[in-house]
Amino acid sequence: MDFLSAHAEIIITLIKIALLMFIVLTVNAYLTWFERKVVAHMQSRWGPHRVGPHGLLQPLADGAKFLLKEDATPAGVDKFVYFLAPLLALGLALTSIAVIPFGPDPIRVFGHNVYLYIANPSIGLLVLFAITALGVYGVALAGWSSNSKYPLLGGLRSSAQMISYELALTLSVVGVLLMANSFNLTEIINAQSHPAWGIGFLGWNIFSGPFPQILGFFCFFVAAVAETNRVPFDLPEAESELVAGFHTEYSSFKFAMFFIAEYTSMITVSCLCSILFFGGWLSPFPQSWTFTYYLPSLLLIPAGLWIIWDGIRYETIFGKIILPGLGTVFTLIGVALLLPPLQFINVFIQGPFWLLGKILVFLFVYVWMRGTLPRFRYDQLMAFGWKLLLPVSIVNVILTAFFILLRSKP
């Protein structure tokens, strides 16, 4: 017992890490499902719907497949690097989540303050960028070590592309940093919590401040998409040109690692977008509207009811059983949050609730783009990065600094 109390911090941190890992991986899994569904509907298809109702169990099936497939290592690869690359990619991607704060104030568990982040370094943003910067190696080395031409091309592309877009990525947040006057993500969010006329979303960096960071957000988001090698910047894995790009030679779980890494970094980027430009966990409504505390339940209950209704009409028995159950669970949680004894939880989940909401929006945008946009040509990519994004973000920096100076001068 005293061991626990002695090393409480470490233990709590470990638990948090494990929890976060679990959540992130699950979210990853269901992100794939979500993506496939959305894209499918955009292309007026059904998408996965065999495994489980609405294909809800598809991710599990995929996971199992990844685990059980044969792990073929091509001949003539540089073994060490070949194994290192996916580890690097996944490790870095997961690490980057660690510095993201999910909520403002700690939750008290067994008399311990449990903060909603794993680490809160004073230079959090820089740490994130550092990790992103190292992320290149995963792709580049994978491409090189495969000892095969398509991956090599993919690796080359990715390294060039990432170097090019990192500049814009880093420069585009300078405006935010200037306004928050800090590298620390928590402080950046708190800096946005003083909206005009108390209307929440007016305090967000994208709308408020001496100089609304619309340009900055544009550059950041585009550059971030490029950094995560997603459509329309997915040249490293341009399946129509390079088979599968840098991970052509990777199979089964190593491939899965790249896969997970990509989706994790998507989540990270979404978090960053919402934290840097959309006020993180701050609610968009005026603080005076207390009823917003009940929004979670107000969303959960109808959703649950709808799922029940939908489940009843579902074809398969399986679905007829599972979906209503899920629905009732949602509904019950929602109701429970409304009950007086449990209302205090609302206070705790406000922050995470809004943050996750925003993250979801951005993830949807990701998927949306994939569903709509064509891929860039390589020269277009470079020209876009160097001739548009970089100058624009520099202009943004200058303007922001200028307006801050204006304001600071009485």
Partner: protein
Amino acid sequence: MNAPLVVFFVLAVLAVAGALSLIFQKHPIHSALSLIVVMVALAGLYLLMGAEFVAAVQIIVYGGAIMVLFVFVIMLLNAGLEEHTNISKLAGFPGILLALALTGFIGATVARSAGLTQVTSGNGNISGALSATRELSTMIFKNFAYPFELTSFLILIAILGAIVLAHREN
């Protein structure tokens, strides 16, 4: 044997190992990787010394830009294993000897001057890391404004030079 010391030794060993493997790896990519290891280890040491910003920059610029550039070039030129020619007599045994001698010199200098540096060891009054970062920025943009601008020019020239060099004229 307190915690920082442990961390230091771990990182130091890491760095030296990286440097050694940089020397003894046959393939440039491996050398590059080992150099990256060294750099990350150094970044850790900077963190240990409370120079958070420098650490971050070390990883972002060195790890994320320069070394990527190296890897990129290696991949681009498809550099193979290093061939072991010994055309230069001087660079053979005597060269290595001389290099060791230089190391010895520096080491001796450090050892002899140990006392002088030890006097103020560790009582660096760099207050909290963030404010340190702030001070750093103040220094760069106030005290070192002129050199800073010069470096920006240097970068510009370097960019132009790189373009001119890599531009295949035909």
